[in-house]
């Protein structure tokens, strides 16, 4: 890009176009102007203006002007590259916007009365879910207590049974088995062996 074109091109652009480019490069651009801006900046003279204004800005910021710009050689190298067709950023942005719009759009369409009903329904839903969750938690607590109670009962039953068994053994030892006691010891000894 020869700089002679800066004089013959960008310098002779209508001031209104240059002012537009000046504010567009600062992000002062309405959504409906974006297509116009891109169409304007696709023209060579307007691109020089864009480059020149950024150059001025860099100089004001104290970025020392380089010995030579390399945009021309970069442009030539990019021209030799295969054209990219991968609109990932636009897809990601549109998907995010779609998600936001779906929610807020639905809210907008409801109107004031609809929004009030939606709010009331949301509060009711939260209350209902909260109640269900609370009841579930209480039921869970009761179930957690039940095994402990059962364990206590079983322990008491076990104690009674042991006492009964002990009493039974004592009485059995004293009365009913007295006649066969002499045969029991060897039998027990055989079992243990």
């Amino acid at each position: 890009m020869a700089n002679v074109n800066v004089i013959n091109g960008a310098g002779q652009l209508p001031p209104a176009t240059r002012e537009q480019i000046s504010r567009w490069m600062d992000g002062d651009i309405a959504p409906h102007e974006i297509d116009l801006a891109m169409a304007t900046l696709s023209k060579e003279d307007n691109r020089y203006c864009w480059a020149e204004m950024h150059f001025v800005g860099d100089c004001i910021r104290g970025i020392e002007p380089t010995a030579s710009g390399c945009a021309e050689r970069i442009r030539a190298a990019i021209a030799a590259e295969p054209t990219i067709m991968a609109p990932v950023a636009r897809v990601a942005r549109e998907r995010a916007a779609l998600k936001d719009n779906a929610l807020f759009g639905a809210m907008r369409q409801m109107g004031r009365g609809g929004r009030a009903w939606a709010t009331a329904a949301a509060v009711a839903a939260v209350g209902f879910v909260g109640t269900v969750v609370y009841q579930d938690q209480m039921r869970g607590a009761q179930l957690a207590v039940a095994p402990a109670v059962n364990a206590g009962v079983a322990q008491a039953r076990s104690a009674d049974f042991n006492a009964l068994l002990q009493a039974h053994q004592e009485s059995a030892d004293a009365t009913s088995l007295s006649s066969v006691r002499q045969y029991m010891r060897p039998a027990v000894a055989i079992q243990t062996q």
Binding site: M1, A2, N3, V4, V6, I7, G11, P15, E19, S22, R23, W24, M25, D26, G27, D28, I29, A30, P31, A37, M38, L41, S42, R47, W50, A51, E52, M53, H54, F55, V56, G57, C59, I60, R61, G62, I63, E64, P65, T66, A67, S68, G69, A71, E72, R73, I74, R75, A77, I78, E81, I84, M85, A86, P87, V88, A89, R90, A92, R93
Partner: protein, 202 residues
């Protein structure tokens, strides 16, 4: 909207096959990238090589850029990686800048440290750069106070037009006009210095 939104629009158009949109990003960021690369690489020819490599790598990697980060942080990171790879490649000369590690921490987004290009340039190029800087300073001093304030708030402080309007207590349309007139006045002074084919600034 901010200028980041404009960058995003240009990236999206470049991803959709519009190479001219990518060229507008190159025209906007090439000097900043050159400046960043100059912190690592001394020779001006090598600076241009690494800068070009950074933009080509960025172009090839465009399909992976989703726009979660700003374009300039992305291209600066690529440029830093290119410069480091260049320095670590066999047969390359490493310039031991003492501030190298410190500079790396900010992701290359500040330019306070005035190292690099001045050392890299030839005497003629250095003289030309000095002449341009002096011309810009003179042009800034010659500006009416309100124009100088508006363009300073925009270019140096980075304020939006709304913020400048609030700070200067004037309508936003006046801010647009003041910034544009300031840029025009400076560009008019610079054009005679830039108007030769040998001295390509972009």
């Amino acid at each position: 909207m901010s200028d980041r939104v404009v960058d995003q629009e240009l990236v999206e158009r470049a991803q959709a096959g519009d190479k001219r949109a990518f060229d507008l990003l190159v025209l906007k960021y090439q000097r900043k990238v050159q400046r960043l690369v100059a912190r690592f690489v001394r020779d001006s020819g090598e600076i241009d090589d690494v800068t070009q490599e950074a933009f080509i790598k960025a172009y090839r990697a465009l399909p992976t850029f989703r726009g979660d980060a700003a374009f300039y942080t992305w291209i600066y990171r690529i440029a830093i990686n290119c410069a480091k790879n260049y320095l670590s490649s066999p047969g390359r000369r490493i310039v031991p800048f003492s501030s190298l590690e410190k500079d790396d921490d900010d992701g290359g987004e500040s330019f306070e440290h005035n190292v690099g290009l001045q050392d890299a340039s030839t005497p003629d190029a250095e003289y030309a750069s000095k002449q341009i800087a002096e011309t810009v300073n003179r042009a800034m001093e010659a500006l009416p106070e309100d124009l100088r304030t508006a363009v300073t708030l925009r270019e140096i402080e980075g304020l939006s037009y709304e913020e400048i309007a609030e700070a200067m207590d004037c309508p936003i349309g006046t801010v647009r006009s003041r910034i544009f007139r300031a840029r025009e006045a400076i560009a008019t002074q610079l054009r005679p210095l830039l108007g030769t084919n040998e001295d390509k600034r972009w």
